[in-house]
């Protein structure tokens, strides 16, 4: 009996989470637009978020697991950082990114990726811990991880390095 109840609970959690988990782009844009509204009192959150998402397709490269803590941090960002100059924004954003890295959920997919990726880069003499890899790549979507993993099949370490750099330089 207890087991059946558990199944139902899990099913209900699963279905609701699955259908309502927003995308990384909407998490990011909702949070930033909410913060803008808080700071200037004029920003209309829905239209701001909608325009933000269409203007920033690269947000799809952030993982949902990473976007959640990132959005939580962006939402409470200081107005002077949010509306200040580029330098303030960049520093505050980096702080949020680092915080999100350390709290984002590590999924089995990230763990599998890192097991292989850290070995591949170790072959190329880079010392990259699986722990750091999981923190770093926990922030990126599966699509980004797939592209990075494809780089490790290049015939030389310099080509691998160039391939990975190109992916992140475009972010």
């Amino acid at each position: 009996m207890r087991r059946e109840v558990l199944w139902l609970v899990l099913l209900s959690l699963g279905c609701s989470a699955s259908s309502e988990t927003p995308s990384a782009a909407s998490l990011w844009c909702d949070a930033t637009c909410s913060a803008a509204h808080r700071c200037d009192g004029a920003t209309e959150v829905n239209s701001c978020s909608s325009s933000c998402q269409s203007q920033r397709p690269q947000l799809a490269d952030i993982s949902v697991e990473g976007a959640q803590p990132l959005a939580a941090c962006l939402e409470v960002m200081k107005c002077s950082d949010l509306l200040g100059n580029e330098e303030h924004w960049a520093a505050a954003y980096e702080g949020c990114w680092d915080h999100a890295k350390s709290t984002a959920e590590i999924t089995p997919s990230v763990r599998e990726f890192c097991k292989a990726y850290t070995l591949a880069v170790f072959d190329c003499r880079y010392w990259y811990s699986t722990e750091a890899c999981e923190r770093d790549f926990g922030m990126w979507s599966e699509s980004v991880r797939d592209r990075v993993a494809a780089c490790t099949t290049k015939p030389s370490c310099s080509l691998t390095q160039g391939c990975v750099s190109a992916i992140f330089e475009s972010q």
């Binding site: 059946e4 199944w7 139902l8 899990l10 099913l11 209900s12 959690l13 699963g14 279905c15 989470a17 699955s18 988990t21 949902v64 697991e65 959640q68 959920e105 590590i106 999924t107 089995p108 763990r111 890192c114 097991k115 850290t118 070995l119 170790f122 072959d123 190329c124 003499r125 010392w127 990259y128 811990s129 699986t130 722990e131 999981e134 370490c157």
Partner: protein, 413 residues
Amino acid sequence: MRQLCFPLVALALGCSASDGDDARLGPTLLHPAPGCESSDPARCDVRLPECQQRLLGMAACLRGESALDLPPIQVLSEADYASFLTQEMAPQMKDPNLEHVEVGLNLLGLVERGALSAQARAEDYAKFVGGVYRNDTKDVLIIDHGGSFDAEAMSPLLVHEFVHALQDRDLDLSAFRAQASSIDESWAYSALIEGEARLHEERYAAAMLGLDSDKVDWSAHFQNALVDDQQRLLAEASPYLASYKYFPYEWGGRYMYFTWRTGGMEAVLGRFAQPPTMTHTLLASTMDAVDSHFTASEVKLAAPPAEWTELTRMTLGAWGMHLAFEKTLGLDASRAMALAWRGDTLGIYASSETPAHSAVVWRLELADEVTAIQAKAAAERLVGVANVRQEGQQVIIAKTDGSLPVDWAFQFD
């Protein structure tokens, strides 16, 4: 209902995983260093005694032996270390022959002018070194390079230095090095010493990083490190002098990995009992640790006339030949030619003029006449046609920075 739910449970679990810590995966799995399963591979602050003690235990375990008493360890700034080195090198700088040696090596493209000055060497070394075990004082120095200093990231480096301390206990490193009868032999011995330390440093690093050592492609790891550093070395203005940063670690690391792969620590220790005596062996060991199946020839130099004084002689070996000829032949061809090295002697001379000029004479013996002809052509591009002669398997290069002739050097017995 249960049947319907079952495939959805995975989805439910998957989605709820993002809801809170309960569903987070556990900490990253660590893989201990094989054979040292009871040693914690986690990195630690190398300035702390408990960390030092643990890493010493790790180094001893990786070598399959018992630890020794913890050697004294101190952290020095790069500037302080450079200053210490400058003072230590000062007496060598008073050697009146040093200027001529520098000119001679410069004429062969092996060092740039000024490279042998105490200050230049001390600054270069202090910038490069992360740590050092000093076998004369039996202590370890860790060099703090400033902003980037990360005391935990230095853990593999401290394991490396502890390997030297253990080597010193077992071998007496000063005595081991003193056996070398030429510079070429010294390079080979350095490659054994640093190569073994690099091997264990990397084995430890893999465990520290959370990698499964059994899944590491160690051959690729050591080969890629060598290829990478080879590029760095060849970009240096003074490649022969800069070899200390690359050759012992990368060529030695690969060689000692091959040795360890074949017979574990027993084979590694066996190498120290019967070390390779020339850099040729390390260059030749590309897929496995191989022997050089020849005895290097004793190559004689002609006696100079009265207006020249011989200051010093040395053997640059296959390594020196590889570096000198790389400029005109390219990497692969110069390496192939260096593998045909069978002996060399390089002499440095000072003229009796005032001020004195310098000359270098380098006589090489190759495996066969065809290679000697190719070496002659490469040498001509390096130092000019008038400065090279070849006869049989031998090539003589003679060059001066002055105007007195050096034709006397072209004597093939």
